[in-house]
């Protein structure tokens, strides 16, 4: 039985979380820390239980997730969208695949269906998958089996209140041809179009790049990949890619605060034995973010729970003031 949707609210609690398909801190081959490709069902459920515990702890009204798997072989064929709905207070969900193939004949990956999701306590409608540009630095056969990045857009229907547009994104990580920049620009363009219609928009996701004013832009200690297909740690050419977003929208953490203390807002590391060392995850909105509500849930001190074991990304949250 779904949880009954709450009544009118004055603030909206938003969480963005790249949950790494319930992989926790297992060392997968593409991270170059290990060789794992597939997980057992027990492993997936154990990892997802911790992710769900974190979600329940913050209790968001709106959750945007990246790398959520729906019956992928690597995730023991579990429908993780449905599982999250069943194990949190969130009642509604929309999902868009960004990597879907009945069989990937490489590395033993097999069937995969992974993508972006929007989950909410309130009804969602007008769900739409908006295709993003494909990489041009791959062969045709590689591109056929590679990720098809997208924006996932939906309308959040609050009871007795103005509806809110939500846009989820997971931008390209590994391209060398400017595809990532196109994804970020298209994300902003979508937010702009929805904002111009007069409503509130919330855009959230893993943009795979760093905020302006980040001190360390390359040479991260957890970047151990030698295979250039999986190298994604040199952001020196991307220093200003997010400036338009920060100029136009409020972020979950004001840019000035981030620039004053980068480390406090780092949200990603590949190394399970290290600590968060860069910020890749964001929430942007044209609503007002309640001052001091923005948080990167890094650990017990900042978020009330250790998040390093749960995923290679930390959840980021903010409370939005509703008119």
């Amino acid at each position: 039985m779904p949880e009954p949707a709450p009544g009118a609210i004055s603030t909206l609690r938003v969480m963005n979380y790249n949950i790494k398909f319930g992989g926790g801190r297992i060392d997968f081959f593409f991270d170059c820390f290990g060789e794992r490709v597939l997980m057992s069902k027990d492993e997936v459920l154990e990892n997802l239980q911790k992710v769900a515990e974190k979600i329940r702890q913050y209790d968001p009204d709106l959750l945007v997730v990246q790398e959520v798997d729906v019956r992928s072989k690597r995730g023991a064929y579990l429908d993780q969208m449905q599982w999250l709905l069943d194990n949190t207070a969130l009642n509604y969900g929309v999902y868009a695949s960004q990597w879907k193939a009945d069989f990937v004949p490489s590395d033993g990956i097999g069937a995969v269906d992974s993508g972006n999701g929007i989950l909410s306590k309130y009804p969602l409608s007008e769900g739409k998958r908006i295709a993003l540009a494909l990489r041009t630095d791959q062969s045709g056969i590689e591109r056929y089996f590679y990720l098809k990045r997208n924006l996932l857009r939906a309308q959040l229907e609050l009871p007795g209140q103005q509806s809110i547009w939500v846009v989820a994104v997971h931008a390209e990580a590994y391209s060398q041809d400017g595809t990532k920049r196109q994804h970020i620009d298209r994300f902003k363009q979508e937010l702009d179009q929805l904002a111009h219609s007069g409503g509130i928009v919330v855009g959230a996701g893993d943009l795979n790049t760093l905020p302006p004013g980040t001190h360390k832009k390359s040479g991260f200690p957890d970047s151990v990949c030698q295979n250039e297909d999986f190298i994604a740690d040199d952001y020196r050419d991307e220093a200003d890619w997010l400036v338009p977003l920060y100029d136009t929208y409020e972020a979950e953490v004001p840019l000035a605060e981030y620039q004053a203390d980068n480390a406090r807002y780092f949200s990603h590391t590949v190394d399970k034995n290290g600590f968060w060392n860069r910020k890749l995850d964001y929430v942007f909105t044209n609503a007002r973010v309640l001052p001091g509500s923005g948080l990167v849930h890094q650990d017990l001190a900042r978020g009330g729970m250790e998040t390093m074991p749960l995923s290679d990304h930390a959840p980021v949250t903010a409370e939005l003031e509703l008119p």
């Binding site: 597939l38 992928s72 072989k73 009945d102 590395d107």
Partner: protein
């Protein structure tokens, strides 16, 4: 050897298939043109005829009632041998048995690799296994040069013990039902096929094939239905070219899916 017990019935069938070679009954003469080329029917190749295919297996008529098959290239990745033994034959019908023995461990090891072609993770450790298959084939010549063939059979795979991590389910379309015996006790199967002449040189083949795969890991009891439709142009008694389409609908752990596999093949016979 987890399924040694279940191998016995098939071993009996296979033994019967091989052992029955000398006891086949000689009956009336069947249509020569239908018998000349190998196929998924109960007829065997004439003694001494050899067929070599590009994609399909090569066949050899060891005697007038025993046909051996193997794929000369695939053999090195997936060692196998197949024998079809004609048991009964008349102008109206034919009955035969077919047995196949394969060693899949080598193939599974080859596809447990990093990068392209990695159907299984490189960390897989496939068990030692044998794949044993047996079918009974019955063919009816319902019209001149028109055959309808029904088969029933089963496959088992005795193997050394393995964990799901050592051998994850190989659910690549088309390979899925053929390797399913490794993950369950036995896989029964049945088929119905039609083939015959359309014009003087153009022939057709339509085959429907079903597998039942009980208690697979993750997928539970699953099925696979395959359909093959091919047109073959036989230039003469020695050269033929075919164009075909295989379709598979199967229940996977991630849901039912349909896949297609078009193919073009050439075979020569001597």
């Amino acid at each position: 050897m987890r399924v040694l017990g279940s191998v016995l019935p098939l071993a009996v069938v296979l033994g019967f298939v091989l052992g029955s070679a000398g006891s086949a009954h000689s009956q009336e003469q069947e249509p020569r043109t239908a018998r000349l080329w190998s196929g998924n029917h109960a007829l065997t190749l004439p003694r001494g005829r050899l067929e070599v295919g590009l994609l399909q297996s090569s066949h050899y008529g060891l005697t007038d009632r025993v046909e051996l098959s193997l794929h000369p290239l695939l053999f090195f990745a997936l060692p196998h041998v197949e024998a079809k033994v004609s048991y009964e034959r008349s102008a109206r019908h034919a009955l035969s048995m077919r047995g196949r023995l394969a060693y899949p461990s080598l193939f599974l090891g080859l596809v447990s690799r990093e990068g392209s072609g990695g159907l299984l993770p490189k960390t897989s450790s496939p068990p030692q296994a044998l794949l044993v298959e047996g079918d009974v084939l019955g063919t009816l010549f319902w019209q001149p040069q028109q055959l309808v063939t029904a088969t029933v059979g089963l496959a088992v795979a005795p193997h050394t013990a393995f964990t799901p991590a050592e051998l994850p389910l190989l659910d690549f379309p088309f390979l899925y039902p053929r390797f399913a015996p490794l993950y369950t006790v036995l896989v029964p199967r049945a088929s119905l096929g039609f083939e015959g002449r359309l014009t003087s040189r153009l022939f057709y083949e339509l085959q429907l094939l079903g597998y039942l795969m009980p208690a697979l890991p993750d997928a539970g009891t699953a099925y696979a239905l395959e359909q093959a439709l091919a047109l073959e142009y036989r230039f003469n008694d020695n050269v033929a070219a075919s164009l075909g389409l295989r379709a598979s609908e199967a229940a996977y752990a991630y849901g039912s899916r349909v896949h297609f596999l078009p193919y073009l093949d050439v075979r020569v016979g001597f």
